[in-house]
Symmetry: C2
């Protein structure tokens, strides 16, 4: 029987949504405004790709979704905080995200900054909670270190800094690669890796997953750039061509659309090859790799 990604993701997304709903303070918990703002952006739908990758990373080494769910939610909160802050007027100044008004357009800039801060903080609270589910104390430290580095200036924030500083400038192919690897790929790689670490994956398995995660993360960002060029407002829920409008250099702008598509395809195949040694348990990661490639939003 071949692996059915739809069935796999539907069941796991349902559990992720339930866990996110429980992890976030309720709308009437004081102070209500910031909790409404946090819930507005986190519970706005989205693919839940990072939580799915945490679960897929765990399953690839014999773990379960239940064992890693707090950390899966934490990765989604970190992703969401980064979107809220990136959308701010001082940053990318976007009015729409996933087809809805951005956080600061609804709650104001001050509340959007604070909601982002609170989501990042809550993420680390959830990771701590996940520590109670594993017996080896080194696991919690490894997970914290991996996620903090992927989210901070050695990772996501570092990529965003260079991205903002390069707007309207001519940048090298190396610089574009730096932005992609840090702004997006770092957290995607971390999602897979911490799933495997929490589930007690051995060194070789974790190394293969880390390498595949890096490759997949880069493919994800190239596909994102292609979609921005090709996409329509209806499909993306944000203004297509927004990268061009903001004079951001994208992979297709640098290498052309055909070469970008070929590069994404090659990276996806690389990632799947890197996962081959893990056998059938890594089927979900390989299927998610294909999904990252063919997605339309």
């Amino acid at each position: 029987m071949s692996f059915d990604l739809d069935t796999w993701t539907t069941e796991r997304r349902r559990r992720i949504e339930e866990a996110l709903e429980r992890a976030l303070p309720s709308e009437d918990a004081p102070p209500p405004t910031v909790h409404r703002a946090m819930r507005y952006s986190v519970l706005a739908g989205g693919k839940r790709l990072r939580p799915l990758l945490v679960i897929a990373g765990a399953e690839a080494v014999g773990g379960t979704a239940a064992l890693v769910m707090p950390t899966a939610c934490a990765l989604e909160l970190i992703h969401t905080y980064s979107l809220i802050h990136d959308d701010l007027p001082a940053m990318d100044d976007d009015d729409y995200r996933r087809g809805r008004l951005t956080n600061h357009k609804v709650f104001g800039e001050a509340m959007a900054i604070l909601a982002g801060d609170a989501l990042l903080t809550l993420a680390f609270r959830l990771i701590a909670d996940n520590g109670a589910l594993v017996s080896d104390p080194r696991v919690l430290r490894d997970v914290l270190t991996t996620i903090a580095d992927a989210a901070g200036t050695p990772g996501m924030v570092g990529g965003q800094v260079v991205d903002i500083e390069s707007e309207g400038k001519t940048i090298s192919a190396e610089m574009l690669d730096y932005i992609h690897r840090h702004k997006t790929a770092a957290l995607i790689r971390a999602a897979l890796v911490v799933g495997a670490i929490l589930a007690g994956g051995g060194e070789g398995a974790v190394a293969a997953i880390r390498s595949a995660g890096e490759t997949l993360g880069l493919a994800f960002q190239i596909v994102d750039d292609i979609l921005d060029v090709e996409g329509s407002l209806a499909e993306l829920g944000k203004t297509a061509g927004s990268d061009e409008r903001k004079k951001k250099v994208t992979y297709p702008a640098y290498h052309g659309l055909d070469a970008s598509r070929a590069k994404a395809r090659a990276l996806i195949e690389d990632a799947k090859r890197e996962l081959a040694l893990l056998g059938p348990p890594a089927e979900a990661i390989r299927a998610l790799a294909d999904f990252i490639h063919v997605r339309r939003s």
Copy 2:
């Protein structure tokens, strides 16, 4: 021989400054701009009260500064990130802090937001590092949970939300108390508590330190409000009377200066009484309590 707070703080501040210097990425580590922005605000001096409290909390139960230094630095990074974000135009819109231009006035709003995000993230990295210095795995979880709750919407961010929402409005004494307890007291209490937890303090000792920390934190904020009313620009390094200018309700505005001074004095005495059972090892906390009371900035 009586306890000499000057000698105690001078030696520990020196070690805190060294540890902060080491914990922060260097100015030329890529991407340099955000690292410069982080270092600008963290290494701008300041009392280092929170790191000192972490160390004092550890020493009160027989621990050492070395055992808790990464977490001591983490608390200072969290405090600094909150100042950087609070000073933003969308928040309190302050141009000066500690006598220098605020972060966004030097590096721009986008970089100030990202530097704050990066400091919060790095704080959790340092807490993870501290986990390597303790043997009981529950300790790292306890420390993470305590700090994340004190920094998030159950603590500091929650207080800041209510503070911002109350500007220019009439608020009750209960609401003012809520703001003080959450915006400032929560992190001050957490500093003492995590020091004691990391140093292996027993339940009774940690409970006494927690209670004293809450009382001290409240006293700290009342003294802060008094200083804002009384202070001069030269002493505070920020515009005195700024709370009044921004129509923020302060303890003196609500209760009068004399009652505020009496309240601060009573809280300091309460905190010192709560620490009595810990005996001489808690001398540094008691001396810091007096310092919080008599400080002029």
